[in-house]
Symmetry: C2
């Protein structure tokens, strides 16, 4: 049965055992041992070829990214990842593809302490579903509904790089270095998420673009927000774009950033700057929460800014949107 041999092959590439795993791949289910009283935090995401990544995408990058986008969700909850499951649909058995995919997955799994405990591989159009399970102390979850009026809005890292990289790749231009990494190998902000517990009021990971994701915090918290577009953090590649509207639009709506957006009381500014130093990660104040129901963007001249129609919509359009 090929479904069996492929998951076995994958299991030989990635960490699958540990003191908190009684039974892993090879039985009907995995038997896991959370510590007494721990909360379990679970997240899952699908990546489909043609919808979430381009046909012919590098297998190693997909292995990393399929796990990374899920770990990013756990980071946004302030949880520590422990176990993962992988459902892999492949059009045909391809040992070299599996090898590369497994290596990409394993590299990130090892670095973040994640063990693969289950899943399946089967025939079908290329599709990657990863489910991650993490744990945390009770009452320590970073949720979307904890923002308060007047809270600062912060964002980690830089925004818009993945979208710019996708634009260039779709145009057939080479994409390398930091830009390629932003799109192919996003780094889940796990250390930041854990440090934000007790500091941030609300938190979300930026996967659909800052505007949409801050919108989720605003809606869940029954508030509005205002963003100052000139404050949005930009990498050198993005800062080099001369068209302000294009740059801000990529930063606000690009998506695939996998940075954390969080809110915190003004009184926490020094603490947050200390966290940024401790974990060596740029944290930028980009706006604030306010009464209302919308997320507004303010240009440097004080006027309202509306992002341009997304340059990559012909691709993202396959998402049904």
């Amino acid at each position: 049965v090929p479904e069996f041999s492929l998951i076995r092959r994958l299991a030989s590439l990635v960490p699958t055992s540990g003191a908190d795993i009684e039974c892993s791949i090879g039985d009907d289910g995995a038997v896991l041992c959370p510590d007494s009283g721990e909360r379990l935090v679970v997240a899952t995401d699908t990546l489909n070829e043609g919808t979430h990544f381009l046909p012919g995408a590098d297998a190693g990058a997909l292995g990393h990214k399929a796990l990374a986008v899920n770990l990013s969700d756990l980071a946004a909850m302030g949880a520590s990842p422990r176990w993962a499951l992988l459902n892999l649909s492949l059009p045909r058995e391809d040992a070299a593809w599996i090898e590369a995919f497994g290596s990409g997955f394993a590299g990130l799994a090892e670095r973040t302490g994640v063990r693969l405990v289950g899943g399946d591989t089967c025939a079908g159009p290329l599709s990657l579903v990863v489910t991650v399970l993490g744990t945390q102390e009770p009452g320590r979850s970073l949720r979307r509904d904890g923002a308060r009026p007047g809270d600062d809005v912060w964002v980690s890292g830089c925004l818009g790089d993945a979208a710019l990289a996708l634009e260039r790749r779709l145009a057939g231009r080479p994409v390398e270095g930091r830009l390629a990494e932003a799109l192919d190998a996003p780094e889940p902000r796990l250390a930041l998420g854990r440090r934000l517990v007790g500091v941030a009021g609300a938190c979300i990971d930026v996967s659909d673009g800052l505007l949409a994701d801050l919108g989720h915090i605003a809606t869940a918290s029954g508030l509005g927000a205002v963003l100052t577009v000139a404050d949005l953090p930009a990498s050198p590649a993005l800062a080099a774009l001369e068209d302000d509207t294009r740059r801000w639009s990529l930063q606000l709506c690009g998506g695939d950033d996998y940075e954390l957006c969080f809110t915190a009381p003004v009184a926490q500014r020094d603490t947050i700057r200390g966290i940024a130093r401790d974990i060596d990660l740029r944290l930028t104040r980009v706006g604030s929460m306010e009464q209302g129901a919308a997320v507004r963007c303010r240009a440097p001249d004080g006027a309202a800014f509306r992002p341009a129609r997304r340059a990559w919509e012909h691709f993202a359009g396959s998402d049904g949107g």
Copy 2:
């Protein structure tokens, strides 16, 4: 974002909250509260159109079956199901399909106490990935590696009905009643799995056919086994087949049965018959474990029986096998 609205719509159809759920659909992850000291049991399965079900399959039946095949894994571990996640890829937004699928999923979820706590819906070829999480007391898992030489081999319910139903449906013949139910609405044997804890030595759910799945028990336990084909439990529809070889082949290799196959010491026969009465489920002794490394089948005349090439291989062949 349609990915958001569809999972919300599904969440309105199925149970999503409970005292052991702090945070469910609508945040980056679900926050769940296992009891202190409980083991967590996790299983996941993919159903792809064209590989695991026929194009145009009934949406309500798929909703039931996608959950049922996963609950069957928890049953085989002796665990109690609690939470589920659903990753649904759909070629297009189709409200009626979602409605029917959600109803099928919800019916079984409500009956078995499962709450939907996460997942996503996105554009792609039709694919259903369900992940189920259950709990059980430490040291109570039914595993594949616990069979001993001389143990009886038992199986629940009847075998071969789903395979016969698939054969007939592929031939364009109407399939109704109990046969259709076997293929479209298998019933996970959760009560049986729980009762077998402390009674069975090894247990597996029959998804790939009894021969293959008992083979997994044999391999994991370092043993062989012998099956008496005349003892395999048959429904009236299957018993009516005049060709013994065809009937036994369907029962041994048909797959999609979702019954439990388990081993137990001879001394447990009365206990097992008592369980069968208590839960009103047929349990049949079909063979025994022995030294060796293969699963043998014995015909009524004592000769070795080898199943015929599977009639449905032109369909199952898309599975890569």
